[in-house]
Each structure stands twice: as C-alpha cells, then as structure tokens.
Symmetry: C2
C-alpha cells in the first residue's frame, strides 16, 4: 500500500454454525484442495494487499477450533477476530464496531476516507483483480459491488407454486461479494434497525439513503460454497 | 416403453455455428471427458428411454462432420437429423415438422397423446431422473419444464448501467431444458409468427394461449455449456 492511499479493511463473515451442535461441519472449515475454505478466503485478500486489515467474524464457539486450524496449517495471515451475531446483519455490525474503534483510536478526521469491504467467508475463489476493481470503484463512488449477468432463462413466480412469467434476463444480475463502502458511510448505514429485507450490505446502504452503490463486473469463479456440488465445482475451477 | 404408453420424441437443438467459417469449433462438438458434448446429450435421452425418438437439429454444414464423428466414436444411438434454421425458433419448427410427418404417417388420431421434449444440445449432463420427471408431468399437464431456484442475491436494472433495485430472489427460477409438451399443442403453438421474445419453448406455448406449462425441479448439474469455464465445471461434475 502506498503512503497516500487510504486504509482498507475487509470484514470476512463466517457465519456457518453447527460445530458444537454435533451437526455438519460449517462450510467455512471444510477442506477445499489443500486447506480449509476460510484459509483460502483470507489469503485471497492478503494476496490483493498485504496491508489490508482483515477482520474475521466467527461464532464464539468456533474460536478455539479456528485457532488450532491456523496452527496446524501454519497460517500466518494477520487478522483480528470478532464475535458473530444472531443474524448476518448483527455479525457485520460487530465487525464494523471494530473498524470504528480502530479508526477512532488512530484519530484520523473523517476516518481518512478508509474503505471497508464485506465478504462472504464461503467465497474462497475471489481473485485480486475483482477485489481491486471493487475497492477502486468504491473509492470513487463511495460504494461498489461485483455482479454477473444471468445466463439462463429467468422466470418470476407470483407466489410459490403459482403462475410464472418469463422476465427479460438481460435486466438481472447476480450479486456477489466483496461489497465495499466508505467507512463513515457503512458505519452510519448500520445504525439502522435491522429489517428482514436486508439480504446484503448494498441493501442496507441503499435503505439508509446515504449512497447508491454501483455495480462492477464480478467473476463467474467467485461462487458461494453452499452445497457439496459447489465444492466439486470450486475444486475444478481452482 | 410399455405398449400403453404414448410415443415420446426429443428434439435436440444443436445450433452452434462456425464449423465452416474458420471460427471456433461449435460447443456441441467440443470434447467433454471421453467424447464430444453432443454424444453425451443424445446418450442421456437414450439411457432414459431406449425407444425415445431422437431428432437432432444440426446446421447443414455440420452433417458430414457429425457423421464422421459418429463413425469415429462408434456411436450407435438411433436418431434422425433435420436442418437448422435461421434462429432457434426456426430450428425447433423444423424438428416439429418431422414429428408431425412421422405421427401423420402412422395415422394415429390426435397423435395418440405423443409427447415432444425440446432440449439444448449443449446441456449434456441432464440425468434420467430429471428427464422422467418432466415427461411425466407434461403427460398430466400438457406442458412442463425443469427449473432451479436462484441462490445468489438478485438485482434488477431499469436499463444497462442505470439504477438497480434488489428483488426477492425466492420468486425467481432459472429455466432449463428439456421442455416437454403434448405433440398436438407444441405443433400448433409453433404456427405462430416468430417474435423476438420467444426465448424458449415455454414462452412460445404461453404466447399461444394453449396451455400454461408447469415447473418441475431441475438439476444444478444440468448446466448449459457456453464458456470454457463451463467445460471445467461440467467435467468436474461428471
């Protein structure tokens, strides 16, 4: 990072539960190639910028497991951990509290234009080019996110099991992460009360009226690992 | 096929051009594992029902190449070939003309309830379970198609580069093939004039007002091979 660039943060949200409950292993800890998913994800941001400040949001019950994982794999990418909340919204809010404290402690007026990215822990195949494009665009526009066009025919249902209509797929985009915002703005946006329609960070920022984040070209490889099939696909794309 | 079941057809549309133009090889002929894509696709329908009548729609300039391919790979799945048209709509129409002639020649009143599926040649990973589900549902409802839910966040743009809004992804489905219809009905629907909004066969049938095809659960593996990355993914999923 050059001295004249602003501070960059990324909040990596690893919400998957289940470790203590005897259920399935959370997706973020499942192996992908030589290492668990989450190690790939953090590494991707470190490769993009070795001075980016990584904040990992992790359920409390997974801290020890994570610590041991880092030791076992000799994982040395610097990061800080904060506790996960009830919902994704609350988890991100916890991450932002750490950003705010860090910037306040450093005493930079207006947070010095710092940028905060928020990224799904289970999107390990994010590449430096896409990360750079989103952070750069967010620096101009105060908010940016990656998205890709829909390539299959798309239909909309009025309700589950009801009549559907074909819609013009060229108007629709699939939204990915990291979603990146000016620190001041995203911290302010997250002071809103939680609403169920807050499905991602762009929707939180838009609801705040503070900014209209802009879209940048995402990557087909930047998939979210949710099913066993996704792991097969991700492994092939690595 | 049992004697009391109706005749089943599938029209496999292999529209990819380019073989004579010195451009890239059409996707339907690219290798996927041990064989070209289109051999996998035809085989999938043969595995589902060895008596299904397969009609392959192929650009005229690719017939000799296809014939040689079948010889080289010892491919013996029975099928008939018809010429591709200017657009997908016209290609399907050519396939339906063959269905109509075949059924008329056999002299069955009302085509004996025959069913016609229409499938993208570049969807080779379609499985017997999905094919069976669509044909069975179409037999009850006169028209059916496979689709899968959207799993990423979805945004809609008013126009390219313009403002976007988050939409409720749970109302949207990605439409696949085979799309299957009662023969009488799809033949009649294709007598309409071509319109640019006919992006698939369900949209043609809906516009005819003859039937409202119903959705059945598709398969995440049933991807359409359009980019080199799709081939990597398909290979991994095989």
């Amino acid at each position: 990072m050059n001295a004249d660039e602003q501070t960059r943060f990324v909040i990596v949200v690893a919400g998957g539960k289940g470790l203590r409950m005897g259920g399935d292993m959370p997706k973020q800890f499942m192996p992908l190639g030589d290492r668990p998913v989450l190690l790939h994800t953090l590494d991707a941001f470190y490769r993009y910028d070795s001075e980016i400040r990584i904040i990992l949001v992790l359920p409390d019950g997974q801290r020890v497991y994570w610590h041991n994982l880092c030791t076992d794999y000799g994982f040395t990418v610097p990061h800080r951990i904060v506790s996960g909340g009830e919902t994704r919204f609350h988890s991100v809010k916890n991450g932002l509290a750490l950003v705010e404290n860090a910037l306040a402690a450093e005493g930079t007026a207006g947070f010095g234009g710092a940028l905060v990215g928020i990224h799904d822990g289970v999107r390990p195949l994010i590449d430096s080019k896409t990360i750079a494009a989103v952070y750069e665009r967010a620096d101009f526009e105060n908010g940016a996110y990656p998205a890709i066009p829909v390539t299959d025919s798309l239909r909309k249902f009025s309700a589950p099991g009801k009549k559907s209509v074909a819609v013009d797929r060229s108007k629709y985009y699939l939204v990915q992460t990291p979603q990146v915002f000016r620190a001041e703005l995203i911290i302010k946006a997250y002071r809103q009360e939680y609403r169920p329609e807050f499905t991602d960070d762009v929707s939180v920022v838009e609801a705040s009226g503070l900014c209209n984040p802009v879209m940048v070209e995402g990557s087909r490889k930047n998939i979210k690992l949710t099913t066993p099939l996704d792991f097969v696909i991700a492994k092939a794309m690595m």
